[in-house]
Amino acid sequence: MDIIVQNVTKKFGTQKALDNVSFTVKTGEILGFLGPNGAGKTTTMKAITCFLMPNEGDIKVGGYSIRENPDEIKKNIGYMPENNPLYKDMPVIDYLSFVAELQNIPALKIKGRILDMVNICGLEGEKHKKIGELSKGYQQRVGLAQALIHDPKVLVLDEPTSGLDPNQIVEIRELIRQIGKEKTVILSSHILAEVEATCDRIVIINKGKVVADGTPAGLRKQAQGREILKVTIEGADANTVFKALQTLSNVHLVDFLSKSNNTFELQSKENTSSRRDVFKMCVDKGWFLTELTPTETKLEDVFRELTLK
């Protein structure tokens, strides 16, 4: 099932939480939904899961519109809301069986489905405990289990790894990637490394508007532009090296990164590279080139550039 978000606007009072947002998620894709806090990620997810109705625009999930067939959509979506709300006073098994009944799973199959979920989400040892007694990582697994219990075609996860320790983050991420092989997944996060590691495609949203849409590699390339090198040259005074670097033909800009270590940042002119020139210069002058690292534009930079405007 694919998700098509068309020109969605949602207002809270006079404030526009979403402003003409459009994007699509193809069947079987894992989409990373990025944005600073308050950008509208959660609102978008609430609209997709039919909890909030947008003021304008429409969302179609597998061809069903949220305006006309919300019940069809709800049957096919597994949703884990922000902060993973759960009935803390219920035992895990009872809770999963409650959700299974609500999802219209035939009574005979409920037991089997619950056992499957317990296995997939690694809840074997905790299934009889009350949810409130579980650690945050296990609660997160219960949240995933309730979202998956009816084997939905679409999975919407709002910050599934927030508040977990690094080991748990890796585990949950692995789980999502496994599950995501057969399902359409939207996952929101503000941890960029996570999105880069899990997702096929990224949509970045800021102040209610979509500001970028593409693969992680594509986005990086788009923001890359000029070559940037980190260079350390020993064997001469920093100022002398600085001046020498400035005379190179392809160099656009030189900057000190650390004067005491003779480390510089070089920006080449557009579509050129100065790596060879730097090496040649060192050979000619008898200096020692101890570091020459091309700096890659990180997703962080893309994110900052797009969302700080």
């Binding site: 922000e82 009935y87 959700v99 609500l102 309730q146």
Partner: protein
């Protein structure tokens, strides 16, 4: 219809998993038993095999207990965010509200069933007006349903359970007491209107054994308005003031 029952079942289980249900049952049976058999205008005092004193006590105890039961029903779900979890399952706002209503009504029915031994005992002591007892129970059920729907509404407009409790009592006290007091000091149409609005007058005529469609219409209107307002309060998340 199924989702209503699933939600009601879960809610009822959670009443019994917390101490709430037991506290209610013990306190309700304790109070009503005390005043029916032991003190005040109890059965031995009035020397009549009637449950009038029981209905009088239950009238007040339920009035205080019901807001305590309903206060968390929706407010807590809104506060913890589980509301979102339920409403993104194939469940409509109406089904959610009706499920919550049903759960509390069932708990009240259970506590009323547990008072049946009073009736049986009294019936063994002397001649009882069976019709009046049946309509008396019916009156209690209708009154409870009305207060549950008022409590549900109070719970649906806030995330704070204390606010919800007090608001339910505040709305309730008008129907329970204030309208009938005010009715006495207003002549003519206003007085009759206030008298009609008071639960007191309808409850009294029902417990005396008089079942009038006017009384039924009155209770069902309150129940419907309370449920409708709760549903609207939930749906408000989709209405933005431009």
């Amino acid at each position: 219809m199924r989702p209503i029952w699933i939600i009601a079942k879960r809610e009822l289980a959670s009443f019994f998993n917390s101490l709430l249900a037991y506290i209610l049952l013990i306190a309700f049976l304790g109070f009503s038993g005390l005043f029916t058999w032991l003190t005040g205008s109890d059965i031995f005092m009035v020397k009549q095999a009637s449950l009038q004193s029981f209905f009088g006590v239950a009238y007040w105890t339920l009035f205080f207990f019901i807001p305590a039961l309903t206060m968390r029903l929706i407010a807590e779900e809104k506060h913890t965010g589980t509301l979102e979890l339920v409403l993104t399952k194939p469940v409509s706002d109406w089904q959610f509200v009706l499920g919550k209503f049903l759960s509390t009504l069932l708990l009240i029915l259970i506590s009323l069933v547990l008072t049946l031994p009073y009736y049986i005992t009294v019936a063994n002591i002397g001649p009882v007006d069976h019709g009046a007892v049946i309509t008396g129970y019916l009156g209690l059920i209708l009154m409870s349903a009305a207060y549950i729907s008022i409590g549900l509404f109070a719970s649906s407009i806030t995330t704070n359970q204390i606010v919800s409790f007090l608001l339910a009592l505040l709305i309730g006290i008008f129907f329970h007491l204030l309208f009938s007091i005010l009715a006495r000091s207003f002549p003519g149409f206003a007085g009759r209107l206030l008298d009609y609005l008071s639960i007191d007058s309808h409850y009294e005529s029902i417990t005396r054994g008089v079942l009038d469609t006017q009384d039924l219409i009155y209770f069902f209107s309150i129940i419907f308005i309370g449920l409708f307002a709760s549903e609207r309060a939930l749906a408000k998340r989709n209405i933005s003031d431009n």
